[in-house]
């Protein structure tokens, strides 16, 4: 039907309008079609003419396409229904698979690092900050299902390979009304590829500095009833010492070998019934060395860490009648790590610890489209979760029930209102109610605005609930809220308690951390070349969990437990602009201004109640302008991207830069424990990455340099200075 020539494929959604419906904007029929097109001829025009020649369609339907040349995108994360990006009244960003391919990224952290409003940070692995909220408050999903296995609240993004990603949808601001806990700063949903109409796939090999080798293979096909897609990846690296690293024994990034395999299979029993099963396995082994002192003698310790996650998700899609759809799914996943430390030479065990988590979610979702204006989504679910770790007393099981409801209302032709809530009932902490209300108005073809207000929450962590840990050398004890009363009573019976400061029986009633957030944004699109978007945000977070002393032991060691105490706010603005220039040149820039503060501290600073010690140890008042807010937040972050695509000689070039301004490191030089001195900041930095690709028929060649100017910072060990790579790929279809 269409002229097909080369590799470039595009997912095309054509907005179809049935002639018998007057209100055209309300019927959106996603038609996922794979076209192979030669962009130099003008993709849109070609498709348009192709369709115009397609008589039957033309008779019953008319079509439209966006004038920008970018085809209308469908997103599923913001409302849990397929919805046109244009009509979603929340801040949503889509990263396309093609962009991921173009930048030569290997793991998810590299992709997210180049997005506006997302700051990749290092805290027990690579994590993300969204709208100034740290990684604990960001939900990572794969095909709508949460990734588990947080270490100190962080899901290490280097666990997630990118070769099987079709696109990534990022919803900023809280989405707890649909997704529950952790969907407070944002939701990052990785949507994986599926089989195409023809048997297609690829092989790809890349080699990077530090003997990093990445190999991947994929294949898939969508038959009439059966669809399948498989993906495999192996990545290994020698790791490296960061420049200026304190240790010459322990590598900053440990040598590792990791394997990922994932697959999908689906079968359409009838036009109204389809079963799909997704599966994924990831396994990684790391090894490193470190030096410890035991009885004042230095010993070399060999460290072996392995981690693994597994998941299986069967989903049944059942269409009762047009516009009435059920999704019945069960997601079962487990994550485990083990760290074994042995004395080098004698092989005696120095330390051996493990963490195992099990998660099962059963859910039914029902979408009911009443008419062209009203769509309701209802869902109920159950989460069963188990955790077992060296530092927890027993294996523990959590049980949670939830229900959610959402209604999308096309109020007027160009005004869309979405409201919803979710109720969570958990057996370990107080019930949660998370509402959301959002509205968007496409004022004209050029302007649109949107606003939302939403509640988010984050469940207490396993540590906060379950930990029972006594530091053997210093003698302090930390007890989770669940075990506090029992643990302290036991210590009391043993005569180890000198003084009780807070009645342990009052500790158990911990609440989830919660937020209320406001987002207001606009989109300005004058014609097809320029797009400017901005979003203002404000998150008010309450009941943040912090530890406090509950008792003093006879050995003078403190006993700590957790309490809902702090209030924090983050606010700012995120702006993006992209401009298409002649000769297939595209320039885009993004900037985020962020103000993230501890509300309690900020009020005290404004009231003149906070002091610091000067170099003579005398106290001085902290000026409000000197309070820098939360640690590890840059006031300004942003990126610049320049893409050049040459269709004549079939190559492309992508030059990207990311930067962040100075940020607090957590160092306190003046005794007040807050960020208020220039010496408590790390300098900002800017990185430049370049990638080039050239295609010869089915073969692709790529090469690039990440961090061209060899910038390095001790606060981001994944930035090891200049890092080159080269690779080759083969595509078949």
């Amino acid at each position: 039907m269409l002229i097909c020539s080369n590799r470039q494929t595009a997912n095309i959604l054509i907005r179809l309008r049935a002639n018998w419906i007057k209100n055209y904007s309300t019927v959106l029929i996603p038609l996922w079609m794979q076209f192979q097109i030669k962009t130099c001829l003008g993709a849109i025009g070609l498709i348009a003419s192709a369709f115009q020649g397609y008589g039957q369609l033309r008779d019953s339907l008319s079509y439209e396409y966006l004038e920008t040349g970018t085809l209308e995108e469908i997103v599923t994360t913001a409302t849990r229904t397929e919805q046109s990006l244009k009509n979603v009244p929340m801040p949503v960003t889509v990263i396309k698979g093609a962009d991921i391919q173009r930048m030569g990224a290997l793991r998810l952290n590299e992709v997210l690092a180049e997005q506006t409003g997302i700051q990749v940070i290092q805290d027990h692995g690579a994590g993300v900050q969204v709208q100034g909220l740290s990684t604990d408050y960001v939900l990572i999903l794969i095909d709508g299902e949460p990734v588990i296995g947080r270490t100190k609240g962080n899901i290490d993004l280097t666990r997630l390979v990118v070769g099987n990603i079709d696109r990534i949808e990022i919803v900023k601001g809280p989405s707890s009304s649909l997704f529950g806990s952790e969907a407070m700063g944002g939701v990052i949903n990785i949507i994986t590829k599926k089989g195409k109409e023809t048997l297609s796939g690829s092989l790809r090999a890349r080699y990077r500095r530090y003997n990093t080798l990445d190999l991947s293979a994929e294949a898939g096909k969508q038959h009439r009833k059966l669809g399948w897609y498989i993906f495999g990846n192996r990545m290994s690296s020698d790791g490296y010492f960061a420049r200026g690293a304190a240790s010459s024994i322990t590598k900053t990034i440990a040598p590792f070998t990791g394997y990922t395999a994932s697959g999908k299979i689906s079968y359409r029993f009838s036009p109204s019934l389809e079963l799909a099963v997704n599966a994924r396995i990831f396994k990684e082994d790391q090894h490193n060395r470190k030096q410890v002192e035991v009885n004042a003698t230095p010993h070399l310790i060999r460290e072996q860490t392995n981690r693994m996650d597994l998941s299986l998700t069967p989903t049944l899609y059942w269409t009762l009648a047009p516009g009435k759809k059920f999704q019945i799914r069960n997601y079962i996943t487990s994550f485990r790590t083990r760290s074994l430390y042995e004395y080098q030479g004698s092989n005696e065990v120095y330390d051996d610890s493990y963490f195992r988590q099990f998660f099962n979610r059963s859910e039914i979702q029902y979408d009911h489209q009443f008419n062209t204006r009203h769509t309701t989504t209802l869902g109920v679910g159950n989460i069963l979760e188990g955790v077992d770790a060296t530092r927890y007393e027993n294996s523990n099981t959590f049980n949670q029930f939830y229900g959610f409801a959402q209604h999308q209302w096309q109020l007027l032709q160009q005004i869309q209102v979405t409201g919803g809530f979710r109720y969570d009932k958990h057996n370990q902490y107080a019930d949660r109610f998370s509402p959301k209300l959002a509205a968007g108005w496409n004022i004209s073809k050029t302007w649109s605005i949107q606003a939302s207000v939403a509640g988010g929450y984050k469940a207490p962590t396993f540590e906060q609930l379950l930990l029972n840990f006594t530091n053997p050398t210093v003698g302090y004890t930390v007890v989770g809220t669940n075990v506090a009363a029992r643990a302290i009573r036991k210590l009391e019976e043993e005569g180890q308690i000198q003084q009780i400061l807070i009645d342990p029986s009052t500790i158990g009633a911990i609440s989830a951390e919660s937020s209320l957030a406001y987002n207001v944004g606009f989109k300005f699109q004058p014609g097809r070349r320029l797009l400017v978007q901005a979003n203002l945000f404000r998150n008010n977070i309450t009941d943040m969990i912090d530890f406090n002393t509950v008792a003093i032991k006879t050995n003078q060691g403190a006993i700590y437990s957790y309490f809902n105490r702090n209030k924090v706010f983050t606010q700012g603005v995120e702006a993006n602009a992209s401009l298409k220039l002649p000769y297939d040149l595209e320039i885009s820039a993004g900037l985020q201004y962020l103000d993230a503060k501890d509300a309690t501290v900020w009020n005290d600073v404004k009231a003149g109640k906070v002091y610091y010690r000067d170099d003579h140890n005398l106290d001085r008042k902290v000026a409000p302008a000197d309070y820098g807010g939360l640690y590890n937040r840059s006031r300004f972050t942003g990126n610049i991207k320049i893409h050049y695509n040459n269709t004549r000689y079939d190559f492309d070039i992508a030059l990207r830069s990311i930067f962040r301004s100075r940020f607090g490191t957590g160092l306190d030089v003046n005794g007040n424990g807050i960020l208020d001195d220039d010496r408590e900041y790390a300098a900002g930095y800017q990185l430049w990455n370049l990638s080039v690709r050239k295609f010869v028929r089915k073969l692709g060649f790529e090469a690039g340099v990440n961090n061209i100017f060899d910038v390095h910072t001790p606060y981001d060990p994944t930035t090891p200075g200049l890092n080159w790579y080269a690779g080759i790929s083969y595509k078949f279809n």
């Binding site: 003149g608 109640k609 906070v610 002091y611 610091y612 010690r613 170099d615 003579h616 140890n617 005398l618 106290d619 001085r620 008042k621 160092l667 306190d668 030089v669 003046n670 005794g671 007040n672 424990g673 010496r679």
Partner: protein, 210 residues
Amino acid sequence: MKRNIISLGLLTACAGLILATASCTKKNTPEPNNTTQQPSGIEVKTITSLEANEKVYLNLTTGNTVAATELTSTNWDISFYAKDRNIVVAVNSGDEGNGAAGAQLVATGFEDMKEAPASGYLPGKEATGDFLKWSNYTGSNEPKHAVLPKPGLTIVIKTADGKYSKLQMVSLYQGNPNTNSAGFADLNTRPAFGYFTFRYATQTNGSRNF
């Protein structure tokens, strides 16, 4: 090399002390090495590196120490003790003395402390005995394993004879060192712990205003 410079610095600090106190021996007669005035006209005295291997008893009105023979009297207001890692500050009352002095910690900077609270004074070492109530232990944060007085915290004292005094602990290390210096960060060159540097001001007219 670095260490030599620091120890030289320490020597000079001790030499300074010798000059200021006329003797560097065990018995202390703390002399303020710096005297300024509050806007209200009250004198602020700063005592640097008070050594208190044995308890030192201070009268906050006269600024004199009190001899051991007078310990049972009401002639002293506050006592300092620092030996090994044990630091105790107490006032003349309760288990510590026969007076009726009291102390409390107020979360206000020294200079902003314009009026003493009317009530809330605790006897003996109840308010100030545990030094972690008015200082922070840095633990594994830089500078490691240091005890640093909390900024913006003033010890308000009702003296044995019913006057009001405010006192701020400045340092617990010999010579009141800059705690951000490399010499302080290095445990090998860090000045000795257990030397009190503090500033205080006493309202002699009996009012609570400073």
